[in-house]
């Protein structure tokens, strides 16, 4: 002992070990102990990644996978259509493929069309689905190629889309924005996004506590044919198998016996191995089986069979119970484990494994699983949802076809030879309309899987570029929003790098709607069989050869592939290492993940779709594999991101494998155990949160608020914004890119399509009109264009044709000198439509349409055009602000109806009450607009555009905003843009240095003089540029008051809501106040006289309501009294009467 410590002490003094000269040596001017330089510009991997993947690659990848692979798989599974009538007949689908988007009318001159044309003309951007078929016609087999069976809406920028691979100039020709990410559909002229759906992963065992705090293990089986849930539950300390198709819980030993494991010893071994603790817990179950007197498989099957819920639809001879049970166990229970030739071996081991996991959890050997863990989640994308839909539609198509075929073949004598091809062509548009209906309504109704989900698709929000982008990365959760559980809403540590930590809405959907982080990829399904082969080649022993004793030996790890057991290995580390090497060498797909679960002693491989993964730099022997040379080559465009993958420098990790790795955030943090290095830490944020400068200095809710507000900011929307005719379009007149950028801003192109302006802000109190976050704006700034925006609104109408041959018409305005003319016709052109650039005042007509008064009845014979009468249906402009006709579009839709769209433009300058926000969740409304000469100014004569009240800072703690001001000011003075990238960005010390060099205070504060008195302010003012966004909430759209106005027909009370010029409600609480105050006459006036006062005549005798001084009940007018009651009350009395309830008014002191 003593000598050992001595040695150590000597080691502590390097001066005496004889290696000093080596340590002093320098090489190439560098000391040996000098720190190794970090890799510079490592973040360049990110643009390289986005170049290949793009921001919405997950949608596009998924759609492409559907078109290229899933479609063919579905057709292959439903390949043959036969006839019950003619056994010789068959129809076989040989192949299926999708064409490019084309017009539906066959005789069009140029077949392909652009997405933009579809948007403008309210068309669906879709392409034909073609099949190659083989069928019997008469006595010959006929082959036909390229038979169209329906149309598939095409995702923009997917393989089929004509925009894919086009250069910026080519896109400009197609009036398409190069920055638009695609990934959505255009259905009936509306841009629709299929949101990413989050759900629990399928075919994986989840062990958790049920409501009664008992352990249960459940698995959601999902195959092409079937979806079912199987659970192993604990009830009264006994273990049961629970499944929906079995009416009662089955004791586990019975279930095992039914699956062919008859010996108690074998059951015990399969479940407990040689663990006596587990055996003690389990033995009671064996006793239970013997109590039930079930010893053999036959007995067990009979027992289960008596409890199976038989599907009554399939009529036929009743089968023995045992057969029924065997079928259910083989195909329905644990459906994802295949049973071939009634070989239940794999399934019984799987079930045993589930029981074992339950026992381990009961025994507290292993913790229960966390179902909120991101690794237990799978994301369902457009492709998967469409393939579900297509499978359903295709099956329906085939069964309809079969019915038709049978109908024709039943006829003994046919006029012509039967050809299925004609049937297919004439079969209608079942598939087309199915797709269009599902995407445009968002309702996915699949009877086969009992699936009825609403709200799958959403209209792509085009409020700003960011809102569209944010929508494409959005993930919707399947959880009900009303449930008040915090678990699924909480921020999960496993979200790191996969899901944005900031971007989630506030309120009911908080934490349930998430967003993808910047550098993520969502996998698509990968073929299992090559992986299976590789696993066995790497030395895994097949599970079917093993007994329970071997399965659970202490050094054995069970290998799973996508949740099903493959086998075991005794050398887990080596196996995993070997497998990873194969993956890095590209022998298996880079998206196959592998990780060791030490608690459960399993190795899990996943190749299924919907896992989120992200690239990381591989670290080996404390060194990142990516070197400076690689990065330099990347910058010089000698290497692409794909090369990094191929060379095994970078690899994708999914959430599970990420948790099994040791990832260093920065290069100096690498320790001997490190396996990976982060590419850039700011990629834990998503595209929307990436806009915030210095988010790591803000209080976290502020970043979340900004994520919500960034989507409401008015700015540039797309390069084709002026060609678009959207329902509502907000455009900023002079948008600017922010002075303080982030790397994310450059990567997503926010600097090219910004939404905001760099305002000079003075943080000070001014005038008292700035309390509660109100802002003071400089009038001269507004004069010069600050915050000015254009609002474009679409007004559309159809010129309809009616079945009786009549049609709507557009009518020219009356002659200006005629009596009929008035100023509302001023904007109209001779064609009855307002011409572009004409001003529209409130009430102006912009489409002078007339509708035939009779659209139903057939016109009599001989009645000419002259006899048709029309009634006017002019479309009038309503807004109080003058609008200008920007564009008029006259076109036809798919159904050959004439469509007219008029785009009306308003230009608005900010006014009192308009909403603004900085990028730090600090919103405020304009409280006062001040003349420039009254504004405070600095010693350089600079006046602020905005004065912000300093009380906004202490409680909000948005330090990032202050640093943004500092960096922005330094940027202005140095003449360059500064960076506020998360976890990095320009340093405050550097910014202060620039300020000092330019003769400013390092703190960003300025000497400011009052514009009113000319005296300097006694305090120094924090003064500089901050990027401000103008939000879409503008006073003009909200302002509302009414004196008199329309009333609802039923109750005669004032209408509700601004759009109907409604009244302002004096509600219950306001009523209570007035009652408390005793203002009864005021109440009477507000609630009745100003609302729905109505005079009725009441009979004093019978108390019933009469009419015109006559009581119909008493047949007398003697005792009639008139009184005022609310019309709603009169309505109530009459409605009660209609229900046979007599209401009598007992009059007290009637006059």
């Amino acid at each position: 002992m003593v000598s050992a410590t001595k040695d150590l002490k000597q080691g502590d003094h390097p001066a005496k070990d004889g290696f000093e000269p080596l340590l002093n040596e320098t090489f190439a001017g560098k000391h040996l102990t000098d720190p190794i330089p970090e890799i510079k510009d490592k973040w360049k991997l990110l643009p390289a990644f986005l170049k290949v993947k793009g921001l919405v690659k997950q949608h596009i990848d998924s759609f492409n996978y559907f078109v290229n692979i899933d479609l063919k798989k579905i057709v292959k599974a439903n390949q043959r259509v036969t006839s019950d009538v003619d056994p010789h007949f068959f129809l076989k689908y040989c192949d299926i493929y999708v064409g490019i988007p084309e017009r539906t009318d066959a005789d069009a001159a140029n077949q392909p069309y652009t997405p933009h044309e579809c948007r403008l003309r309210d068309l669906t951007y879709s392409a034909n689905i073609y099949v190659d078929i083989e069928y019997v016609r008469g006595r010959t087999i006929v082959r036909r190629k390229k038979v169209a069976i329906g149309r598939l809406p095409i995702m923009l920028r997917s393989q089929q889309c004509i925009l894919t691979g086009k250069s910026e100039a080519e896109l400009a020709k197609l009036t398409e924005c190069p920055l638009d990410p695609g990934g959505y559909f255009v259905v009936k002229g509306v841009e629709k996004v299929i949101l990413v759906q989050e759900q629990l992963s399928k075919n994986r065992i989840i062990v958790e506590m049920d409501k009664k705090n008992n352990v249960m293990a459940s698995v959601q089986s999902s195959t092409h044919e079937r979806k079912s849930k199987t659970a192993i539950i604990v009830k009264h300390d006994r273990i049961y198998l629970k499944h929906n198709s079995i009416s009662e819980d089955v004791p586990i030993v019975v279930a095992m016996k039914a699956m062919g494991v008859q010996s108690d010893k074998e059951i015990a071994q399969l479940i407990c191995g040689n663990d006596h603790d587990l055996l003690d817990l389990f033995s009671i179950n064996i006793e239970e089986a013997s109590k039930l007197k079930i010893y053999t498989q036959k007995q067990a099957l009979d027992f289960i069979g008596s409890k199976v819920k038989v599907n009554r639809k399939i009529s036929g001879p009743r089968r023995p119970w045992a057969d029924e049970a065997l079928e259910v166990l083989a195909t329905v229970v644990l459906a994802h484990i295949p049973v071939e030739n009634l070989n239940f071996r794999e399934k019984s081991i799987y079930a045993a494994m589930m029981v074992r996991r339950v026992l381990q959890a009961v025994n507290h050997q292993v913790e229960v699983d966390d179902r909120d863990y991101v690794g237990n989640k799978r994301l369902e994308l457009a492709g998967q949802l469409l393939s579900l839909l297509f499978e359903d539609l295709f099956k329906k198509f085939n069964s309809d076809l079969k019915l038709n075929i049978d109908k024709v073949l039943k006829k003994v004598n046919r006029t012509q030879e039967f050809d299925v091809h004609n049937q297919i062509i004439l079969h209608g548009d079942h598939i087309t309309s199915g797709f269009i209906r599902a995407i445009s309504t968002g309702n996915w109704v699949l009877k086969r899987f009992k699936m009825d989900r609403a709200g799958i698709t959403h209209v792509l929000s085009r409020l700003s570029y960011i809102s569209a982008l944010g929508m494409m990365t959005r993930i919707a959760s399947q959880f009900e929003k009303t449930r008040k559980v915090s678990g699924p809403r909480a921020l999960q540590p496993s979200q790191w790098g996969m899901l944005c930590t900031s971007d989630t809405p506030e309120g009911e959907a908080c934490g349930l709607v998430k967003n993808l982080a910047l550098m993520t990829h969502i996998t698509t399904d990968n073929e299992e069989s090559p992986i299976r082969n590789l696993v066995f080649v790497l030395g895994v022993e097949d599970v079917n050869m093993l007994t329970g004793a071997e399965l659970y030996q202490p050094n054995v790890f069970v290998v799973f592939l996508n949740g099903s057991i493959l086998g075991i290995t005794r050398r887990a580390e080596k196996f995993v290492h070997d497998f990873r090497r194969m993956r890095r060498a590209g022998r298996v797909s880079e998206f196959v993940s592998i990780f060791i679960n030490d608690h459960q002693r399993t190795i899990n491989l996943s190749s299924d779709g919907g896992r989120i993964c992200r690239p990381l730099i591989i670290v080996e022997n404390r060194k990142p594999r990516v070197t400076q040379q690689h990065i330099n080559d990347l910058i010089a465009e000698k290497l692409t991101f794909e090369d990094f993958l191929k060379k095994g420098l970078v690899e994708y990790l999914d959430v599970n494998e990420e948790s099994d790795s040791n990832i260093a955030t920065y290069e100096p943090d690498i320790i001997p155990e490190s396996t990976h290095l982060e590419i850039e830490p700011f990629t834990i944020l998503g595209a929307v949160a990436g806009l915030i400068p210095y988010p790591h200095h803000n209080q976290s809710p502020r970043n979340t608020y900004q994520c919500a507000m960034g989507k409401q900011a008015i700015g540039a929307i797309a390069y084709n914004q002026l060609n678009r005719i959207d329902t509502l379009l907000y455009l900023m007149v002079y948008p600017q890119q922010p002075m303080v950028k982030t790397k994310t801003i450059e990567l997503i192109g926010y600097d090219k399509l910004p939404a905001g302006q760099n305002a000079t802000v003075a943080v000070m109190s001014y005038s008292g009109y700035d309390i509660e976050d109100a802002l003071v704006l400089n009038k001269s700034g507004l004069d010069r264009g600050f915050g000015r925006c254009q609002v474009m609104r679409k007004y559309a109408t159809m010129v309809k044709q009616y079945p009786n041959g009549t049609h709507d018409r557009l009518v020219d305005p009356p002659q200006p000198d005629s009596e009929l003319w008035n100023s509302t016709y001023a904007a109209l052109d001779a064609d009855g439509i307002a011409s572009p650039a004409e001003p529209l005042e409130s009430g102006s007509i912009y489409i002078n349409k007339q509708v035939p008064s009779n659209t139903n009845a057939e016109l009599g014979v001989g009645s000419g055009v002259q006899n048709i009468t029309y009634k006017g249906a002019p479309m009038r402009y309503k807004s109080p602000q003058t609008g200008y006709v920007d564009k008029v579009l006259l076109t036809t839709t798919e159904s050959d109806q004439t469509l007219i769209k008029v785009l009306v433009r308003q230009t608005r300058r900010p006014e009192l009450g308009d909403k603004f926000s900085s990028r730090h969740g600090q919103k405020g409304v304009c409280g006062i607009i001040v003349q420039q000469e009254d504004m405070p100014f600095t010693d350089l004569g600079v006046t602020p555009d905005i004065i912000m009240n300093p009380h906004g800072f202490p409680s909000r703690m948005t330090v990032g905003k202050m640093i943004e001001l500092l960096a922005g000011k330094a940027g202005v003075l140095a003449g360059k843009l500064q960076y506020g990238t998360a976890f990095g960005g320009s340093k405050v010390a550097d910014m202060s240095q620039i300020l000092i060099e330019n003769g400013f205070s390092y703190s960003g504060k300025d000497y400011v003089t009052s514009g009113i008195t000319g005296e300097p302010l006694s305090a120094y003012i924090f003064f500089g540029p901050i990027y401000y966004q103008k939000l879409k909430h503008m006073v003009m759209d909200k302002m509302h008051a009414r004196a008199r106005g329309p009333r609802a027909t039923l109750t005669r009370q004032p209408t509700e809501g601004r759009s109907r010029d409604g009244g302002l409600r004096l509600g219950e609480m306001e009523r209570d106040c007035l009652i408390g105050y005793g203002a009864s006459m005021l109440l009477l006036e507000r609630l009745m006289i100003s609302s729905d006062a109505f005079e009725i005549h009441v009979c004093e005798e019978c108390g019933l309501i009469g009419y015109a001084g006559w009581c119909q009940f008493c047949k007398s007018s003697k005792k009639m009294k008139s009184m005022q009651i609310p019309y709603a009350a009169k309505l109530l009395f009459q409605e009660l009467m209609s229900m046979n309830i007599c209401t009598r008014l007992m009059l007290d002191d009637a006059l």
Binding site: R784, G785, R788, Q931, E933, S1001, S1003, T1009, Y1020
Partner: protein, 278 residues
């Protein structure tokens, strides 16, 4: 001749720098209120000429009509002879006439296959005294809109006289810097410091024009500011010295107007008294 209210000789102006579009001067021996009034009038009440109405005949450019009209309004117009133009409200005409307005026309069509810039150079004025401002011969003018092949812009602009109180386009200056007491001898402000005032607060340029205070001198609480350092940059519509002199004239006019009002009031009151027969 100094006393507590400054010199009796009245206000002085010393011009320190005069460029084409910049002026920097010291106003001394006057009160803070006078100096600040001058600053405010320079910004907001010196009349200039700016495009106020735009009649658009053809606009097939990418920009909307209001957009172009707004841009045109911001173009500075040579306003040295602004006195010759009346305010429209003072004019006898119904809408506008040559007495109270200047007409500028612009007609550009792009026929080439490349982008054509339309600038303020292409505005043709009906009155040669009122032209869009150009700094020199090589000045390409202010960009109004860019055209592609087939785009056309044909407009008639009516420029009118106005003041920046109404709209910032009539402001002759882009800003007025104004300072007094660079050493803060009067203690009108409080320096916010962490450690050392001298280190943390850079002195303004104007400090070179005053003697640094004696750190041991007692605080003179009777002192009044009397030297005001102005500097201003014009937008080009007026020469910088014109801005200052016109600002003073405007101030004078305003005072004269007040004086007149006062006189009228006094006369009225006198008449009232006499008529009541006291």
């Amino acid at each position: 001749m100094e006393n507590a209210y400054g010199t009796l000789s009245g206000p002085n102006i010393t011009i320190r720098e005069l460029q084409k579009d910049k002026i920097s001067f010291i106003l001394s021996d006057t009160d803070l209120s006078v100096a600040n009034s001058l600053r405010r009038v320079m910004i907001a009440e010196v009349p200039t000429i700016a495009i106020d109405m735009v009649e658009i005949e053809t606009n097939t450019t990418v920009l909307a009509d209001e957009f172009i009209a707004h841009r045109l309004g911001m173009i500075p117009i040579e306003s040295t002879d602004v006195e010759r133009i009346k305010y429209t409200r003072d004019c006898t005409c119904s809408q506008y006439c040559s007495e109270c307005s200047v007409e500028l026309t612009l007609h550009v069509k792009c026929t080439d296959d490349r982008t054509r810039d339309v600038t303020s150079r292409e505005l043709i004025s009906s009155n040669p005294q009122f032209q869009p401002v150009l700094t020199d011969k090589n000045d390409s003018g202010i960009l109004i809109v860019k055209l592609r092949k087939g785009h056309e812009l044909s407009i008639k602009c009516i420029a009118k006289k106005g003041v920046a109180k109404e709209h910032a386009k009539w402001s002759p200056v882009s800003g007025v810097a104004f300072e007094y007491d660079p050493y803060n001898k009067l203690r009108h402000t409080h320096y916010w410091i962490e450690e050392d005032e001298k280190k943390e607060w850079p002195l303004s340029k104007n400090a070179a024009l005053e003697a640094p205070p004696d750190p041991n001198a007692p605080f003179d609480y009777n002192a009044k500011p009397d030297r005001f350092y102005f500097s201003s940059e014009t937008v080009g519509s007026l020469q910088p010295e014109e801005v200052v002199s016109m600002a003073m004239k405007t101030l004078l006019d305003k005072l004269a107007y007040v004086q007149m009002q006062l006189k009228e009031e006094v006369d009225m009151k006198k008449q009232d008294h006499t008529s009541w027969g006291y």
